[in-house]
Symmetry: C2
Subunit: 370 residues, 2 copies
C-alpha cells in the first residue's frame, strides 16, 4: 500500500482543516506542534517540537514523504535544510521567499509585468512616494501587523530608525479588496477559484463573499489569469492566496500568502474542491480537483474572540435561526480579537447570507445577545 | 466552556466520518475502539475496550456527556446498564430494540399502521406465506447476512432446525429499493432527507442515487412522512435509515437501522447537513440542520475490496478523469468484498454521474484497468 505520509509544520487551524481531506483521501497525516493542545494536534496525530530548530524539523521530516507548512514564520534556513536532506518540501524555499520577503515579492511582480502599486525600498532617504503612504516591514507581518500608514517625513524617519529597511507603497484609494486562491502542482497543473471579496476591519479579514459580486467578467478573468501567472512565475507548489486591490477595472497585487488562507475557507462548503484538499493534491502531485462553485454565493465570517467565552451555547439560538449555517471551531482558547473559528453560509440571496453571517458572528462573540 | 464530550461505541468508518463534524462543531469526541488501528481510532482520540463488557463501557461512558454507537452489535444489556447509571445514551435501548429485533420491528410497524410485507413469526409450524419466501434471523444480521430465500417447506425446516425462531416475509416482486434517512432529537424536532435509491448486489449496497429518480411527488412525500412517523413511534434520538421496497405507487418497510447508514453517505457532499453532523446535533439536542440538497443528483458508490491492494495509485487516473469525484477512504486493510471506502459525485447529468462512479469503483477494486 502506498498512501504517502504528509507532515505539516505548524498545528493551527489551517493544519486542523487540512486533516479532514487528508483522512478522506487516506493520507497518513501528522502535524509538528508546539503543544498537544494546539488546534490541529487536538484532532490529528502530532509530534512536538520547535519549528525554528533545524534538527527537530529534520527528524520530523524524515518520517514524512512530503512536508508542508501552514504559516510564514518557518525560517528559510529550516526549509533549505529539509531540501538539502533530499526530502520533498512544498512550497519550495525559493517560492516561499515571495511570501516571506515583501521586497522580493514586489520585484517579482514587476518582473512578471503585473500591476504593483507604486513602491520602493526605503533605507533612510529618497522617499519618492507622496504622503500618506503605506510602510511595511519586509518580513514577519500578517493580519495587519507590520503594516503602517505614514503621514509625514517625520513619521517615516521614526519608523525607519526603529525598524530598519522598509517597503514603501502608495496608499491606493481602492474600491475594494479581493483574494484569488490558486493551486499548482510539480507536474505544472494549475487551477484557480473565482475571486473572493475580502472585507477587512483594522487590517483583519472579518468576512468574505465568493464570487466577488458585481465584478465584470473581464476583470474576473484577468485576476484569475494574474494569479496563474504568479503561481507559474514563482514555481509555486501548493495553494496560494493572491490578495489584490481593485480600483475601477484595474487590479493591483497587494500580498502573496503561500498556504491555505482565510480568504479560501469558503471553499470547504462552496467549492467542489476545498483549498485544503487542493493543497494536498498539489503537494502530492496528484491531479487537481474541480474548483467549480457548488452554489451561487458563499459568505464566510470570522469569529473573533470577544466577551463570551462559551462558544457552544450560542448554537441553540443560531442553529434554530439558520439551519444552513455551518460552524468551524478551531479549538482555541477565547482571547479578544483572536480568530477562534468561522461560519459559512451558501445560497442565492447575497444580502440575506451577509445578514445571517454577520448576526452569527456578532452573537457568538457577544456584540449582540439576540 | 461547555463543549460536550461525545463518546461513540465502535470505531469503524461511521465513527470515522462522524469525527469530522464533531471537530468542526468543537465537540470533544472520542471513540471506544477494539484496536488502535480501527478506522475511526486512526483519526480521533480513542479508548480501547470490549463493547460487550459492561464495566469497560461504563467506565468509558462516565467520561462522556452523551454516548452513542455506530453498529447494531452492542448488547441491549450494555446499553441498559449505561442508562441505569444515569448517563445519556442515544438511541435509547427501547428504540434500539427495533433495530436489533426484526420481529419487534414488524410488530411496531403494524401498530403504526404502516405497510409491512406479509410476515409472521415462525417457530417450526404454521407457515402461512407462499414459497419462495424470505426468512430472517430476528437479530444479528446486516448486509444480507442472516437473510435467506426459502423455496420449500423442507428448506424452511432445515433452517429452523439450525437457527431457531425465524421472521418469515413474503418475497415482494418490488420495482426498486429505497432508503429514507431521518433524524430526531430529544426535543422532538425531526427532519428527513429526500429518499435515496439503493442499488444492491448479493444483499450488499453497491451504489445510491439521491433523490430517487422518477419517483412521483406523492410517493416521495409519503415515504418521508412514514419515516417521520416511525422516528416518532419508536422515540428515536439520532439518525436512522428506513429501508423500503417500492412497488408501483406503494411502499413497504423493509428494515430499520438506528445509526448513520451507508445509504446516507451521499449527504456529506450532497446535503447542507450530512447525516453525521445531524446525528451529533440530534443526540446533543441541538436544533437540526437543513436537509436541503446542494445539487440536483448525488451518486455514491461503495468501494469493495478486490484484487488491488493499493488504493492510492488509482487516484492518478481517476482524479485526472473526473476532477469532481470525491473519495472517502476508511483506512481499512483490503479484503475481498469488504467495504473499504466510497466515492461520491454530484451534478445534473445522472447518467454521467452513474457511469463515472461505476468506473471509479471498478477501477479502484481492479475489475477494469483503464
Amino acid at each position: 500500500m502506498s498512501f504517502p505520509r504528509v507532515g505539516v509544520i505548524g498545528a493551527g487551524q489551517l493544519a486542523r482543516m487540512m486533516a479532514v481531506p487528508a483522512n478522506d483521501l487516506g493520507i497518513d497525516f501528522k502535524v509538528f506542534a508546539a503543544i498537544p493542545n494546539d488546534s490541529a494536534a487536538q484532532v490529528s496525530h502530532f509530534v512536538l517540537g520547535d519549528y525554528t530548530n533545524v534538527d527537530s524539523v529534520l527528524e520530523f521530516a524524515k518520517s514524512c514523504d512530503v512536508l508542508t507548512f501552514e504559516h510564514e514564520l518557518v525560517p528559510q534556513s529550516v526549509i533549505k535544510a529539509v531540501e538539502a536532506a533530499g526530502i520533498k518540501v512544498y512550497p519550495r524555499s525559493q517560492s516561499f521567499t515571495y511570501s516571506q520577503d515583501k521586497l522580493e515579492m514586489r520585484k517579482k511582480i514587476a518582473e512578471l509585468n503585473l500591476p504593483n502599486p507604486k513602491w520602493q525600498k526605503y533605507q533612510g532617504e529618497g522617499c519618492e512616494i507622496g504622503f500618506p503612504l503605506i510602510a511595511k516591514l519586509p518580513s514577519g507581518g500578517y493580519d495587519g501587523r507590520g503594516v503602517f500608514q505614514i503621514d509625514s517625513e517625520a513619521q517615516l524617519q521614526e519608523l525607519h530608525t526603529k525598524a530598519g529597511t522598509l517597503l514603501l507603497e502608495e496608499k491606493l484609494n481602492f474600491d475594494y479588496e479581493i483574494s484569488v486562491m490558486v493551486a499548482r502542482s510539480p507536474h505544472d497543473q494549475a487551477a484557480t477559484w473565482p475571486a473572493t471579496l475580502t472585507i477587512q476591519s483594522d487590517g483583519i479579514c472579518t468576512s468574505t463573499v465568493t464570487p466577488v459580486p458585481e465584478i465584470s467578467d473581464a476583470l474576473a478573468n484577468k485576476v484569475q489569469a494574474a494569479a496563474l501567472e504568479i503561481a507559474s512565475g514563482i514555481s509555486l507548489v501548493g495553494v496560494m492566496a493572491v490578495e489584490m486591490f481593485i480600483l475601477g477595472e484595474n487590479f493591483y497585487i497587494n500580498e502573496l500568502a503561500l498556504r491555505p488562507h482565510n480568504s479560501g475557507h469558503w471553499s470547504i462548503e462552496g467549492s467542489e474542491t476545498s483549498q485544503f484538499e487542493q493543497h494536498l493534491r498539489a503537494i502530492l502531485d496528484l491531479p487537481l480537483g474541480s474548483t467549480a462553485l457548488r452554489t451561487k454565493f458563499t459568505v464566510m465570517g470570522n469569529v473573533l474572540g470577544g466577551e463570551k467565552s462559551d462558544m457552544y451555547r450560542p448554537y441553540l439560538h443560531l442553529m434554530a435561526r439558520a439551519p444552513n449555517l455551518k460552524f468551524h471551531q478551531y479549538g482555541k482558547e477565547v482571547k479578544p480579537g483572536r480568530k477562534i473559528g468561522h461560519v459559512t453560509m451558501c445560497g442565492e440571496n447575497l444580502l440575506q447570507l451577509q445578514q445571517e453571517v454577520a448576526h452569527a458572528v456578532d452573537y457568538m462573540n457577544g456584540v449582540i445577545d439576540e
